[in-house]
Amino acid sequence: MLNASEIRVVRGQRRILDDVSLQVSSGEMAAVIGPNGAGKTTLLHAMSGALLPDGGAVEIGGRALGAWPVKELARRRAVLTQNATLGFPFTALQVVMIGRSPHMGRHPGRGDLRAAAAAMSETGVLHLAERSYPTLSGGEKQRVQLARVLAQIAADAETAESNVGRYLLLDEPTNNLDLAHQHLVLAAARRLADAGVAVLVVLHDPNHAAAYADRIHVLQHGRTFAAGAPRDVLTSHLMSSVFGVAARVLNEPGRDRPYVLIWPSASPHSGATH
């Protein structure tokens, strides 16, 4: 279980996060959505330990984040950030193998290569293995980075380790991706959750969250606006008051996941509340 309680982050006079609490259980995929500047990425940074919050606590598997030995934590928890840039001529496979660093000695073993192959197949980049990373397109780079974090927490098939107690944090993994790859990546995250991993994902598109996540956490101005199952959270009221768009939410009978239809706005700010 990934547990953040009453996280507060203050920058100058501004409260970027104000008492935000969020839990992700094993086998669950939780999405954080909200407009730009709502504090989504900051929340992910606080929950990953990249940023020390001014208040509140983060626990992973019942242990405080700071109490984990860094290497042990790295074997169970991977983080995909938005700014993983790399200008040096590694091959895509080498980048993915860097993800296996916490598991291997100086050189990779068969299990490490197997984890890399499985992760690269999940994100559809097997055919790029020998390509030089800097020459890849933005979307290809993004999928190689995702394969890297998947490989990082991959359970070793030979020892039949459980996926419970593994954690994946993704910050806008659909950035730079075309439509098909957006869904490929989200489906890969969903499969990991179904296999027992606790997945926390920051997303822009409410429909992505609605289609893949078990729970949606909506942030606005650094506060929790709503949290719960997609069909309870996503309403036309929420779409207008948080995102500032006029929308209709379809809840078809027989389908447990809602779908948000957004109307083209008449004026640039119609429906906005700020």
Binding site: P89, Q94, S101
Partner: protein, 364 residues
């Protein structure tokens, strides 16, 4: 392209990669041996490789000495061989320091000379020589001379910390700030050394040219024996950070998430780079561009993996410094060109090309 058996394919790739690395290391070792032989042979006085071997054998008592070669023997053993030793550790050390700085700054433009580490060390060394005169009453000249690499180490350390503080914010290095900080430190160090040379009549201090352009001239076995471990040891230690640097190239936060203790390893690496460069500069002055040129050549041929990059850069750096030194002491016989002029002649245009390429890629 569909891969039917990706794991098998990756295993084959890994095998091919390690074969290529082994071959490249063997080739680099062979190149270094050739460079050594050429360097033994060439110079104001030619020594044939066979004669050199015979003289070495005589020296170690394997065969009887040949009287006619006594003068040659002195040149070989007291002048040329220590100079080759210095060239090897200097080239290897500078190349490894360059690889490390480029990894730390996550930018291929970092070089001990360009970012001011070498000249910072040179200024500290020059200052220590001048100040050392007032310490001469208490300490023997021998101790003072041996403390020189340590003084240079502190100069290099301070320069590295200043450059890092100026150029890096939250783990991201601003290339312009990095190079401008280097320009500033180089200018200040040149002024400082120039001033010291101007006000002091100290023999040991040599010239501004020596400190800013470097030379392998005048090395003795005793000085080399003291300084070489100070170069070799930190160089070997730096080469253990290959996996750390691979991860660091993804970003500091990413390396942390991969389980590396980023702050600690950065501090250790900065210290080791300063030690390596300081010990080198104390003996040779600031030789530029080796740390820039060599790692880049290796990356072009073998990719960026530090497990390959470190050993190959060390070997290639050693060979290139040997050959550059050979040209420096033969091209204007009987005089000698400062070796830094040669490395700058090759490295300068190369650096401009790198800058233009980085700009075109929108790196800054």
């Amino acid at each position: 392209m569909t891969v039917l058996d990706p794991v098998g394919h990756f295993i084959a790739l890994a095998r091919r990669q390690s074969r290529r690395t082994t071959l490249a290391v063997l080739a680099a070792v062979a190149f270094l041996l050739v460079a050594c032989f050429v360097t033994i042979h060439g110079g104001a006085i030619h020594i044939a490789p066979l004669d050199a071997l015979r003289m070495l054998a005589a020296r170690t008592g394997l065969v009887d000495a040949v009287p006619a070669t006594d003068a040659l023997s002195v040149i070989l053993i007291e002048i040329r061989l220590p100079r080759i030793g210095l060239g090897i550790v200097t080239g290897a050390g500078l190349a490894v320091a360059g690889v490390t700085l480029q990894g730390l700054f996550r930018n291929p433009l970092a070089d001990p000379g360009l970012v001011g580490v070498s000249t910072g060390a040179a200024l500290a060394a020059a200052a220590f020589i001048v100040l050392g005169r007032s310490l001469a009453e208490y300490l023997s000249p021998e101790i003072l001379r041996h403390a020189l690499p340590l003084a240079a180490f502190f100069g290099g350390l301070i320069a590295t910390i200043v450059v890092y503080a100026v150029a890096t914010r939250e783990g991201r290095t601003d290339v312009a700030a990095l190079l401008l900080a280097g320009v500033a430190i180089n200018a200040m160090a040149a002024a400082g050394i120039g001033l010291l040379v101007f006000i002091s009549s100290e023999q040991e201090l040599r010239s501004l040219n020596f400190w800013m352009l470097g030379s392998l001239n005048g090395i003795t076995w005793s000085r080399l024996a003291f300084a070489a471990p100070l170069i070799i040891l930190p160089t070997l230690l730096l080469m253990q950070f290959s996996r750390h640097l691979n991860a660091l190239l993804l970003g500091e936060a990413e390396a942390r998430h991969l389980g590396f203790q980023v702050e600690r390893m950065k501090r250790v690496m900065v210290g080791l780079v300063a030690l390596t460069v300081g010990a080198i500069v104390a003996l040779t002055g600031a030789i530029g561009f080796v740390g820039l040129l060599v790692p880049h050549l290796v990356r072009l041929m073998m990719g960026a993996d530090h497990r390959t990059l470190f050993p190959l850069s060390a070997l290639l750096g050693a060979s290139l410094v040997l050959l550059a030194d050979l040209v420096a002491r033969t091209i204007v016989v009987p005089a000698e060109l400062p070796i830094g002029i040669l490395t700058a002649l090759i490295g300068g245009p190369f650096f401009l090309w790198l800058l233009m390429r980085q700009r075109d890629q929108g790196a800054w």
